[in-house]
């Protein structure tokens, strides 16, 4: 989607955004992109919104105002700001709750503070990190320390006082008698290096503060100094179980900007590969849910069949996790001669196996007791917190990008969008199971009819994308995965940002788990399918 920005007056910004939601129905905030537009324009943000009924999208560009700040502001180790210019924007976190973490991310990388946001702390980087790394004038440095990070126990709230000066006040994160435990960063049930700072009252969860960035690899910053073909390599390493889809979104946005016409063969193969990847991910998901709830046998079954899926992909791509298969204008290579046969065998083999996972784990009474009413979230909250993917569909939100914004062959094959209305972890698990059947359906319909044609549309040796902004999203394995591209006509992107699948899911832990038991945190975390390198990028 080529972006046409709406722009608003700074003073009316908060009101206009509220109008967009209330009057025009843009109730789903897809992402907030912080950007350094250069010396003349300064810092700003791009908001991408969607209307969940009509699936219409719009985008808003807002430039931040700047002010020199006096003493006493941000005197907390979150950055030295005395006497410096601070850029600020009104918050939208009271309109769309998902903006809570998104705005903290922008603050972390660009140093834009959001007026009225109650908790302006760094999200990914250490609190003693100097400067804001995504600004264009940031001087590269990669020194690090093995000392522990001293984290503030309060968040800052910025506001403009009567005289028009920027001021801040502290909001305490914890009460005096709160019992706080850290789950992670090295914990087997968080699927990586997520850290959830959990405030407890006895066994009951009072509050969850996610701490991210333990696997923040700064891919977006690295992209800014790479040529377009070079940027491709890093996407597979985000959510390594969704390598194909991530690459798909990235080549998708570049191809859209270049206006490349793909052959049908490419579209067919990409669709099949995406669905194979989805099977791979969902199989691992069902295994991990079983393992996290203590059913190790359930895990072994899923992992056994995952190897068959990997075989199928590996014969063509040569990789098990990191596929490196799509490239700008097509595919790296043609499919393996045995690919069609292998895929058919796989579909035949896998269909009865899915029932087996249900028999051994999904229909088990213990599983039902553990997962039902665990981590509940209503449909309104799901949209408000932008819980996309299977987790949102378990609350009845029809949010599948494959249906709403069809790409490749998804509008030409027959398949159903799986939704359930339980709003809890059990239904999240069941949506994953149902989606595996749908993936098999899609593969089955396409695999016999892969048309002849080129697997690659030849591109220029040096790819230069014309000026403009684009956003392209695909249905990743755990939600919408999108890439925003701002090109200035160079051979490398001016700014590229991903919409990670997991960031909004992590933001939803807090409302889901308040009032629940601590043991349910593990179950919810397992059933919602977060993969941390995807969140941290």
């Amino acid at each position: 989607m080529k972006l046409e920005f709406l722009s608003f007056d700074f003073d009316k910004f908060a009101q206009e955004m509220q109008n967009l939601k209330d009057k025009k129905g843009f109730d789903y905030l897809v992402t907030i992109v912080g950007e350094d537009f250069g010396k003349e324009e300064g810092l700003g943000c791009v908001y991408i919104l969607e209307n969940t009924n009509t699936h219409e999208r719009c985008s808003v560009k807002m430039m931040a105002k700047c002010q020199v700040c006096g003493d006493g502001i941000a005197a907390n180790g979150t950055g030295e700001t005395d006497g410096q210019m601070i850029a600020y924007l009104p918050t939208v976190s009271n309109i769309w709750r998902v903006a809570d973490l998104l705005e903290r991310e922008v603050y972390d990388f660009y140093g834009i503070v959001f007026l009225g946001h109650p908790d302006m702390r760094r999200l990914f980087l250490r609190t003693d990190f100097k400067g804001y790394p995504f600004r264009k004038d940031w001087v590269y440095n990669d020194r690090y320390t093995l000392e522990d990070d001293v984290e503030p126990d309060y968040g800052l709230e910025y506001f403009i006082d009567k005289d028009g000066n920027l001021q801040s006040k502290q909001n305490k994160l914890f009460e005096a008698d709160d019992y706080v435990i850290n789950i992670g960063p090295q914990h087997p049930a968080t699927h990586g290096v997520l850290r959830l700072q959990t405030v407890l009252d006895g066994e009951t969860v009072k509050r969850v503060y996610p701490h991210l960035g333990y696997i923040h690899r700064a891919i977006e910053k690295m992209w800014e100094s790479m040529t377009y073909p070079q940027t491709l390599a890093l996407t597979d390493r985000l959510n390594y179980l969704g390598a194909m889809q991530h690459r798909h979104a990235l080549v998708g946005v570049i191809e859209e900007a270049l206006e490349v016409e793909l052959t049908d063969r490419i579209k067919y193969i990409r669709t099949i590969m995406d669905e194979l990847q989805r099977l791979d991910s969902h199989l691992l998901y069902t295994s991990c849910v079983a393992q996290d709830l203590g059913a190790l046998t359930g895990m072994l079954y899923g992992m056994r069949d995952r190897e068959h899926v990997l075989n199928c992909m590996e014969e063509t791509t040569g990789g098990r996790l990191i596929q490196n298969y799509y490239r700008i204008g097509g595919l790296q290579d043609d499919i393996d001669p045995d690919f069609v046969k292998n895929c058919k065998d796989l579909v035949r083999y896998l269909r009865p196996m899915i029932q087996e996972y249900m028999d051994i784990f999904g229909d088990n009474i213990i599983t039902h007791n553990r997962l039902e009413n665990c981590g509940p979230m209503s449909l309104e909250d799901c949209i408000n917190y932008a819980v996309t993917g299977p987790a949102g569909r378990a609350s009845g939100w029809k949010n599948d990008v494959r249906k709403n914004h069809p790409y490749d062959m998804y509008d030409k094959v027959e398949w159903e969008q799986c939704t359930l209305n339980g709003c809890d972890s059990m239904d999240r698990y069941l949506v994953h199971i149902n989606e595996m059947y749908q993936s098999l359906n899609i593969i089955e319909q396409l695999i016999d009819n892969i048309p002849e044609g080129d697997f690659y549309v030849k591109q220029k040796p040096i790819i230069k994308v014309p000026e403009g902004q684009w956003y392209y999203s695909v249905e990743g394995v755990a939600g919408e995965f999108g890439v925003y591209l701002d090109s200035r006509g160079d051979k490398s992107p001016y700014r590229m940002k991903m919409r990670p699948m997991g960031l909004s899911l992590v933001g939803a832990f807090d409302p889901m788990l308040r009032g629940q038991k601590i043991a349910d945190l593990i179950a919810t975390c397992a059933a919602i399918d977060v993969v941390i390198p995807d969140i941290d990028r």
Binding site: F124, L125, R126, P133, Y140, N141, D142, Y144, T145, L146, E147, D148, D149, P185, Q186, H187, P188, G192, V193, G213, Y214, I215, H216, R217, A218, I219, K221, M222, S225, A233, L234, R237, Y240, L241, L284, M299, L300, M303, R304, R306, E307, R320, L321, I322, I532, P533
Partner: protein
């Protein structure tokens, strides 16, 4: 008594990579021969140790999934005795560092390593753990975990295939098999050694090499005049601190 070459079933000794460095370690560890009794006991203990290597689950990214695949039905590294993974560093023999280590994660890795009991090992799995891999130009990635902890085995790949991970684990087995356990990795420290406050492994290492990585940060070369002027403070530092505080009060 001579130290036997480590024997792994199904792969002949000549077919292993990097035998030369293994033999070098044997020569260094057992300089001047090996006692028959302790040597035989060593072999027994090391046989047991090498066949039950318990790893800490320390999967930060992609390589962790391949490590999981190793443990599951197709590859099944229970065959070699690696199947027990521990979530607490106190119970683990080795860290499988599977994935990128970022600047925010680095203190946690160091701490986990420090919390483990001796003898302990580190395996660096994948390009990121070895050198930063594809993220070498990132501002937030440690360029190789060797900057933080000593590494025993490197397993290259991005991510390495499960076969490669198992090969790396077996290389570690070979290393364990030749170790001097009694009198080496596991001996009662003398009073002097205990004063140093470092592990046995480190003591052996220090007497053989002068590797800077293994040295803790202790200032040894102090100017002479500094010592003589402040000798009172350095010897009775606690006492003098207290005295100062009293004076202030």
């Amino acid at each position: 008594m001579e130290v036997r070459k480590p024997h792994i079933k199904s792969i002949p000794y000549e077919e292993w990579n990097d035998n030369a460095s293994l033999e070098k370690i044997i020569d260094e560890l057992h300089e001047g021969g090996v006692n028959v009794v302790t040597g035989s006991l060593d072999r027994l203990i090391n046989w047991g140790r090498s066949n039950s290597l318990w790893s800490l689950t320390f999967a930060t990214s992609c390589c962790g999934i391949e490590f999981m695949a190793c443990g599951c039905a197709r590859y099944d590294f229970a065959r070699f005795g690696f199947e027990v993974t521990r979530n607490s560093p106190r119970q683990a023999d080795l860290i499988m560092c599977a994935g990128t280590i970022t600047h925010k994660m680095a203190p946690a890795l160091k701490r986990l390593y420090d919390e483990m009991a001796e003898p302990k090992y580190v395996i660096a799995v994948g390009g990121c753990a070895i050198s930063g891999g594809p993220f070498k130009s990132s501002y937030h990635v440690v360029k190789g975990i060797e900057e933080i902890v000593p590494v025993d085995v490197f397993i290259p790949g991005c991510p390495p295939r499960p076969e490669a991970i198992m090969y790396g684990m077996m290389q570690l087995q070979r290393k364990v098999k030749i170790e001097k356990f009694f009198g080496g990795a596991n001996h009662k420290q003398s009073a002097e050694e205990a004063k140093l406050g470092v592990s046995n492994e480190e003591l052996t290492f220090r007497s053989k090499h002068n590797d800077h990585r293994r040295e803790p940060i202790v200032v040894t070369e102090v100017p002479k005049n500094f010592l003589s002027e402040n000798s009172e403070y350095s010897e009775n530092s606690e006492y003098s601190d207290n005295k100062k505080e009293e004076e202030k009060a």
